[in-house]
């Protein structure tokens, strides 16, 4: 399958490590992918404000990918993944919206006539590459890690369309971590939202929600966090300092992307995995 690689807005600013490590891992396992040229926002952050603009932006990605000859779209953000996945379902009974977005797409010589399959990096890792292949490639077991998985809401919901993992009992991140030699037991707050969506509405409360999730991970004995979504990762990783200030507690816990855990277990160079951008203190754990 020839994937069009869609990196999303966050890679332009705070999430270089997500893109860097995803590229390295996908390449390592021989996944056939190339960047979708001229890509823009997937639309998801705009959906609650201007539905037609969301639909246009999501359709634009599909139209570009199709025109550039890809068979499917690979995503590295749960928000992008849901947006691009749900588009055809949401437009099914809305020919008027399809007409409007095509009028807009025509400005750039584009046309939307249905979506391509969309695959989140978790699906590519778990289904395309598979546990067996990953297990065989492990060089350095991550035995010191007791890692709290965080799937992110948009990777598992809604139930009405296909998502990368089960909506109430996801297991794929944990299965992958365990194959790498880490421990990743389930915990009661596994499904709790990171609250990234409300960071622009009430930052203090949003950080309280994410900070409390990290705090409970610590209390339950985890020494690290694994994310697959840059929005979740920002809330539960990069924002730990401010969240700690909001809560008046220490909520520092090394947070890394799943692809970075895989890279470490493969013995890859830390800088090649973008770990220099993870500011939550992974060094001690890795060098244990």
């Amino acid at each position: 399958m020839k994937y069009g690689f869609f990196t999303g807005c966050t890679s332009q600013a705070d999430s270089y490590e997500n893109e860097i490590s995803s590229r390295v891992i996908l390449t390592h396992y021989g996944i056939d992918f190339q960047d979708i040229e001229d890509q823009s926002c997937c639309g998801t952050p705009i959906k609650t404000t201007k539905h037609s603009m969301w639909a246009f932006l999501a359709a634009r990605v599909h139209a570009l990918a199709k025109k550039q000859g890809y068979e499917a779209i690979a995503t590295i953000c749960n928000g992008c993944d849901l947006s691009l996945s749900e588009l055809s379902h949401e437009l099914e009974h809305h020919p008027d919206v399809v007409e409007l977005i095509n009028e807009a797409l025509a400005k750039e010589g584009l046309h939307y006539d249905g979506s391509l399959p969309v695959r989140n990096i978790l699906e590519i890792l778990y289904e395309d590459i598979g546990l067996e292949t990953i297990e065989k490639s492990v060089k350095k077991k991550l035995t010191g890690f007791v890692t709290a998985a965080h799937y992110g809401c948009h990777a598992i919901r809604p139930k009405t369309i296909k998502r990368p993992d089960n909506h109430e009992q996801p297991t794929h991140i944990q299965e992958i971590l365990e194959i790498l030699g880490a421990k990743s037991p389930v915990y009661p707050e596994l499904l709790d939202c990171c609250s990234a969506t409300t960071i622009g509405v009430d930052a203090e409360k949003a950080l309280k929600v994410s900070g409390e999730k990290v705090e409970i991970m610590k209390l339950r004995g985890y020494n690290s966090i694994a994310n697959i979504c840059p929005f979740c990762h920002k809330q539960l990783g990069a924002s730990q300092d401010v969240a700690g200030k909001v809560l008046g507690k220490d909520v520092k816990l090394p947070a890394m992307y799943l692809s970075q855990y895989i890279g470490l277990a493969l013995g890859m160079d830390e800088e090649k995995l973008g770990l220099q951008f993870n500011l939550t203190g992974w060094e001690e754990l890795v060098n244990k």
Binding site: I46, T49, R157, T197
Partner: protein
């Protein structure tokens, strides 16, 4: 509880919601409260309860909800939609209502307008910037030799965005600034 003014009832609301979402279906809600029990926004924002929003939307009494701005507190976690035994979607009702309020000229929280402005400027909600490393270096996409991003034909892209309503949102903001 305050009495609801009958005159504030929007009899066309059901159709306005349907124009945006097929799955919202506030009319199918039987107020079991399962959505609110699993709602993270309900735990932290006082008065935010998806089942109440479904009922209010079904009845057509949403003026208070729209004016209070409370609808923007939804975290968009989709738990309510996933768990609703009646296969309705409170989150889609909420998202339809925020859209309806913006269409009417009520400004969304500033962060949303800013994101639309940024998309219009270069296709992404965030402007390209430097990221800090553990060695206190500040690096850009270029430094990292990552492929360049940005819209090839910004003028055409902006014309397209105008058609799908981006400018309508930005103009609301302008009106506010002028006051």
């Amino acid at each position: 509880m305050d009495t609801i003014e009958y005159s504030s009832r929007d009899k066309e609301l059901a159709n306005k919601i349907k124009a945006i979402s097929d799955e919202a279906k506030p009319e199918d809600c039987y107020t079991c409260i399962k959505c609110t029990n699993g709602c993270p926004a309900n735990k932290i924002f006082e008065g935010f309860a998806p089942h109440k929003i479904q009922v209010a939307a079904h009845m057509g009494f949403v003026e208070d909800l729209i004016e209070s701005g409370i609808l923007w507190y939804c975290m968009n976690c989709l738990t309510c939609q996933t768990r609703c035994p009646m296969k309705t979607s409170p989150v889609q009702t909420i998202s339809s209502l925020t859209n309806i309020s913006v269409n009417r000229g009520i400004a969304p929280p500033k962060a949303f307008t800013e994101m639309i402005r940024a998309v219009k400027a270069n296709g992404a909600i965030i402007q390209p910037r430097e990221a800090q490393t553990t060695d206190f270096d500040f690096l850009t996409r270029d430094d990292l030799e990552l492929p360049a991003r940005g819209i090839k034909d910004p003028v055409k892209f902006q014309e397209a965005l105008k058609i799908v309503g981006a400018d309508q949102v930005l103009e609301i903001k302008k009106a506010e600034e002028e006051i």
